[in-house]
Structure formats: C-alpha cells, structure tokens
C-alpha cells in the first residue's frame, strides 16, 4: 500500500500542469477493469466544449460510459480485430467510440467524462495505451490524437514533442 502511494505521488509529481485532455489514472493493469476518467480542463481556444468523442483502442472491451447530467451519451459499435474472452463469452464486437454531446462546458470550467472498461490481457504490458479524443467546441475542434511512434522510419533527430497528445495510460503487467 505504501509503495502504491509512492507511485501515485510520483505520477502526480511528473504530470504537467493539466493543459491537455488527459486520463486521471495514469497506470492500469492488463487483464483487469479500468475506470477511465477523461479530464477536460478547457475549451478550444476559449470556446466552450459541446462534444467529447473518445475512440476505444483495440484490446479494450466491455465499455460502459457513465451517464452525465445535461449530456447525451452515444456509443458506436463495431467489430474487434480479434475475439476476446470475457467471463467465458467470446466477444467479437463491441463499443468502438463513445460520445458525450448536447451539453455545454464553458472554457473557465472543468469537467470529467467517465467510462468503465476492461483491459484485456492481449494488451502488451509496459507500453502506453492511447485513447484518442476529439473535443468539439462551439467554434473549433481540438484533436487529442497524437500518438508518438517508436523508431518509425528513419531516425529523425530532435523529434518534436506533440502539441496535442492523445490521453494515455501506462499498462502494468498482471501481478
């Protein structure tokens, strides 16, 4: 317990001033459920947020968004790339995208959008799992969809830091 606390403290310490849409819980274990809390600290360049769309990455199943007062919640279902075993059932399709809309979150306010998920053990531990988010506002769109590529193509020196990174969670091996 003490160790977990330490990790939490460390994680909080390194997280930058939350200027991006991000996940509140930065670490999760594969083969377990994960409550994904998307924190939305601001609108799009001052404009109020009217819609949040989250893409569910492959390997994440049993997605159930938490209803939110003043917002409609919709899901888009689709086929998974592979079948997943979930409590003895074979799942070949499920939620691929979750969208909250119809509400209005002013730039000066903060809010959270929550969903329950299960991280299957097909996911690779010690990597970062990204949930791309599109934040739509009254004017403008912010796409939190940048996923760093590892060793892609040539070795480009001085790879610049993404300015709109996708929210990510560090996957830990099953204990």
């Amino acid at each position: 317990m003490k160790r977990a606390c330490l990790i939490l403290v460390a994680a909080l310490a390194v997280s930058p001033a939350a200027a991006h849409v991000s996940l509140e819980t930065k670490q999760a274990t594969v083969g377990a459920s994960y409550k994904a809390v998307f924190t939305v600290p601001h609108g799009c360049a001052g404009s109020p947020t009217v819609k949040i769309r989250v893409q569910i990455p492959e390997g994440v199943i049993a997605v159930k968004p938490m209803p939110k007062a003043g917002w409609n919640v919709d899901v888009v279902e689709g086929k998974y790339a592979v079948e997943y075993d979930y409590h003895g059932n074979k799942l070949s399709s499920g939620v691929k995208e979750v969208a909250w809309s119809g509400g209005k979150l002013p730039d000066k306010h903060y809010d959270e959008f929550v969903m329950h998920t299960v991280l299957t053990d097909k996911l690779k531990p010690n990597t970062i799992l990204y949930f791309p988010v599109v934040q739509e506002c009254e004017t403008g769109v912010s796409r939190w969809i940048e996923i760093p590529t590892e060793g892609a193509g040539h070795s480009h020196e001085g790879k610049s830091e993404g300015k709109s990174p996708a929210p990510g969670v560090k996957l830990l091996p099953k204990s």
Binding site: I145, G153, H154, S160
Partner: protein, 520 residues
C-alpha cells in the same frame, strides 16, 4: 542566275520551316530526384518544356558502375529511361544530355536511392577544352561570315573594286575551318564527349542531326560562294549577294534568338540583323585598304558606303532592340543574368562603334571631300572600328553558353522524402532558398498510392537560429497535392519540417525530417 534564285528560295524554306522551337527546360522527373524507393523503378521519365532529342543518357548504379544496358525511348517532350531490373541497392544516378530544338544541349542528373543511400559519384563534368573550342570556332565562323562574306559583298556591290580583299579572303580561310570545328564541337557538347572523340564519327553525326548542323552547312556554303565571287566572272555579283543571304539564313536557322517566339518575327529579325552586321563590318577592312591606297579615289566609295551603312545601322538597331526585348523580358535581366551582361558589354562596344562611325560620317568624310585631308585620321578611325567589331564578335560568341532570361526556368525545387511504415511524404520547396517559398506536399500511404487526407499542416522551425515552430495549414490543390504558399524562410540552415496529416477523426500521421536550405 535562276539556279541561285532557286537555291536562295530553298535555303529560305529550310530556315523557316521549323516548328515552334525554343530552349528546352526540364519540367518534371518521375520518380523525383532525391527519392528513396523500396525497389528499382521500371523507368525514369524526364519531361521537358519542349520536344527534345536524347544525346547522351547514362545510368550509374548503386555499386558505382556505369550501366550499358539502359534502354532510352523518346516521344516528344518525354524521355523514358528504362532501368534494368537487376539494379543493386544504393544511390543510382541518371545523367542526361538532351538536345533542345535550338540546337543547344541541356544537361543534368537525377538521383534516386533504392533501399538505402550510398555515396555514388556524379559523372565527371564537361571538358573545359570543348567549351574553349566552341567559343574559338564560333569567333572564327563570325569572322568568315561577317568580315569575309561581308567584305566580298562590299567589293562587289558597294566599292565595285577588288582592292583590299586580302583580309576578307583570310577571314573566309579562318571561317570555313571555324564552321567545321563548330560542327564537331557541337557534337562533342551534345554527347558530352572529350576533345579526343573528334576523330570518331558519332559527334559529327549528332551535330548534323541537330538544327545547328544544317545552319553551319549553309554558313560553309555561303563562304564558299563568297570565295568564288572573289574571282572575276560575270556571275560574281550574283554569287556575292547569294552568299550574303546565306549569312543571314545561317544565323536565322538556329540559336536561341532565332527560335524565340514569335518566330515569324524573330527569324526575319535575326536574318536582317545578320545582313546588317555583314554589310557594316565587312566593309571596314576593304575601306582601310582603299583609304590607305589613295586620297581622292575612295571618296565616292566612302560616300556610297556611308549612305548604305546608315541604313544598315538603322536595321541593326531596330532588329537588335526587338531581339533584346524578347530575350530579356525585363530590363533588370541586363545586369542580373549572364546573358544580359553579355548584351550589356555588346551595347557598350556598339556605342563606341557608332561614335566612331558618326565621326567618320560627319567629320572625317566631309573633310576628305573638302580638301583631301584627314586620310590618316579616317584610317585610324576605321582601324579602331575593326578592333571594336572584333571585340563584339568575341563577346557575342559567348552567348552560346548562356541561356537567354526568357528560357530560364525556376531552379529545381528542394525535395525531401520522408517515410515511415504508414506513409511516404514528398516535400517540394521551391525555390528552396532563403526568402519566400512555395511548398508542395505529396502524400502517399505506405504502399505508395495517394493518401486521402482531411487536413494537412506544415510546421517549420530552425532551432539553430532560435526560430520557433511556424505552423501553416496546407490547402488541397486541384492537382491532388497539398500546397502551402508563400512560406517565409528567413535564413539558410537546417530547418526542421513537421507534417501533420489528419487521415480520419481520430487518426493523424506525423512525419518529420530536416530540410537543408542553402543560398546556393
């Protein structure tokens, strides 16, 4: 006489039957120079602004070997170089030398890498000796045409006297080998061969096939006719005038001035310009001889020449102005381009020549007529005219090496190719120098087929100069590529280019690379 008329008509028809000719320039290359390819392309396609004839096209493969199993096919403005299938990995160079319709060679090279780049060397540059030969031969040719043929014409039609024919005779003796050497040197230049290759047939054959070949043959014919006109015969005067027409024709048949649009005006302008030069310059040497021989006898000749020369100078001025306007396009080119600088030096020399001519016409000739004095002064003045004329011919021969501003196309853009497993981006920055640039982004997926994008953003930074990322949205052009126009790159240096491509709502592809911007 009828024979000569027929010959003249034939020469005329040959000279003017050409299609719309101009100095060709390379427009595009497929695959683009600097490409990184997964496998050898089937062919390299070179597209030029005008129809071209292939001269020497060579392929040096990634192992540094010159390949002789390259097949070249040309159709109109496109030249296709079929690449052998067994091309090894590494950087290959296709060097090309094609003949544009004005008879001048256009050379360059295309580089592409298969798998990984290697340090393949470009083929050696052109032999400097060939350029010297081209220039010398051309000066010789001009001497033969203007001093030689022009001198004979003066003797037969203006002076009615064969006094002072030694210089024209000598000029023709220089001019005929000069024309022949021009032909050989042109062949060497077209094929990119060294001087030693003059003993082989290839350069001569190629030169005769280019538009300059027939023009040089007409020049040789004109000089031979002038030589025959030196002999006293009843048809000598006819020969002299046909030879003079040949001078104009030979000049109007080739070269970047004659092939400039509108050709209907430019070719006659060159023709008349050539006639004017031959009449004026050709008269100088015989005049010196006439004036030195006796004081009073040449007076009617000098008077007659003065009147004709005034007409010739008028024609030269009008045609010269028209040609300069077409070739330069804007006055600034007079000092900004090498072509313009040659023209500027020529104009300075011509001004000197005109001053001397005016002195002769309005001061020295009347003095001669009045009291028979001033012969030595007139002679000195004409000798100075000769020297300036020679200098003009030497300067003008340098035009062979400088494309006129009209034909100069913007430099080939700076190109970089970035690829990852997901995508390949071709980035073209033109002109690729510090200042305002236009950027074209060609997007392809990992398989090389076009990538449909919703949005494309280009971000440029120059960390070494502390220039923070400048973000510019690209717009999709009708050509299917993304364009960012008027991007200011304030400094040369190693720019960092980052391209963000939004493929779908949630998917973005970002590729980055360095862009070396040099002042060149």
């Amino acid at each position: 006489m009828r024979f000569f008329a027929a010959l003249a008509t034939l020469l005329f028809a040959a000279g003017f039957a050409g299609a719309a000719w101009a100095h060709a320039a390379l427009i595009s290359v497929e695959p683009p120079s600097g490409s990184m390819l997964a496998a050898a392309p089937k062919a390299v396609e070179l597209r030029f602004s005008e129809a071209v004839t292939p001269g020497a096209i060579r392929l040096i493969d990634g192992a540094g070997r010159a390949r002789d199993d390259v097949r070249i096919s040309a159709s109109g403005e496109t030249i296709s170089v079929a690449i052998p299938v067994d091309l090894p990995e590494g950087t290959a160079v296709v060097s090309y030398r094609v003949i544009s319709q004005d008879g001048h060679p256009i050379a360059g090279s295309v580089i592409f890498s298969i798998g990984m780049p290697t340090a393949t060397k470009l083929p050696a540059a052109v032999d400097g000796g060939v350029n010297a030969l081209i220039w010398l031969a051309r000066v010789g040719l001009y001497l033969g045409l203007f001093v030689g043929v022009g001198g004979v014409f003066f003797a037969r039609w203006i002076a009615w006297s064969m006094i002072g024919m030694a210089v024209p005779r000598m000029a023709i003796a220089i001019g005929i080998p000069g024309a022949a050497a021009s032909l050989g040197a042109l062949g060497l230049d077209l094929l990119g061969l060294p001087l030693t290759a003059l003993t082989t047939a290839a350069p001569w054959k190629v030169a005769l096939g280019a538009s300059a070949g027939p023009a040089l043959l007409v020049a040789i014919a004109a000089m031979l006719l002038a030589l025959m006109a030196l002999r006293s015969a009843w048809y000598a005067r006819a020969l002299a005038i046909v030879a003079l027409v040949g001078v104009g024709l030979s000049l109007a048949m080739t070269g970047h001035a004659a092939t400039a649009p509108p050709e209907v005006l430019m070719r006659p302008a060159i023709f008349l310009h050539g006639l004017g030069v031959a009449i004026w310059i050709g008269a100088l040497a015989p005049l010196v001889a006439l004036v030195s021989r006796s004081t009073t006898a040449p007076l009617p000749i000098v008077n007659r020449f003065s009147r004709i020369a005034a007409l010739a100078v008028g024609v030269l001025a009008v045609t010269g102005l028209a040609l300069a306007i077409v070739q330069l396009e804007k006055p600034g080119a007079l000092v900004e381009t090498r072509y313009g600088m040659i023209l500027a030096s020529k104009l300075v020399l011509v001004t000197g020549l005109l001053a001397l001519a005016a002195l002769n016409r309005f001061r020295l000739t009347p003095a001669l007529a009045r009291d028979g004095t001033g012969t030595p002064a007139l002679m000195r003045s004409i000798l100075a005219e000769c020297a300036i004329a020679l200098a003009i011919l030497a300067v003008v021969a340098g035009w062979r090496f400088t494309p006129p501003p009209r034909t100069i196309v913007p430099d080939t853009p700076l190109a970089i190719h970035i690829h990852s497993d997901k995508a390949m981006f071709q980035v073209l920055v033109s002109p690729g120098k510090p200042g305002i640039n236009d950027v074209v982004l060609q997007l392809m997926n990992g398989e090389g087929s076009p990538l449909a994008a919703r949005e494309t953003t280009l971000t440029l930074s120059l960390p070494e100069r502390g220039i923070e990322p400048m973000e510019r949205k690209a717009s999709l052009g009708p050509d299917g590529h993304w364009h960012v126009r008027k991007v200011e790159l304030p400094f040369a240096g190693r720019w960092h280019a980052r391209i963000d491509v939004l493929v779908s709502d949630f998917e973005q592809i970002t590729l980055e690379d360095e862009l070396d911007v040099t002042s060149r």
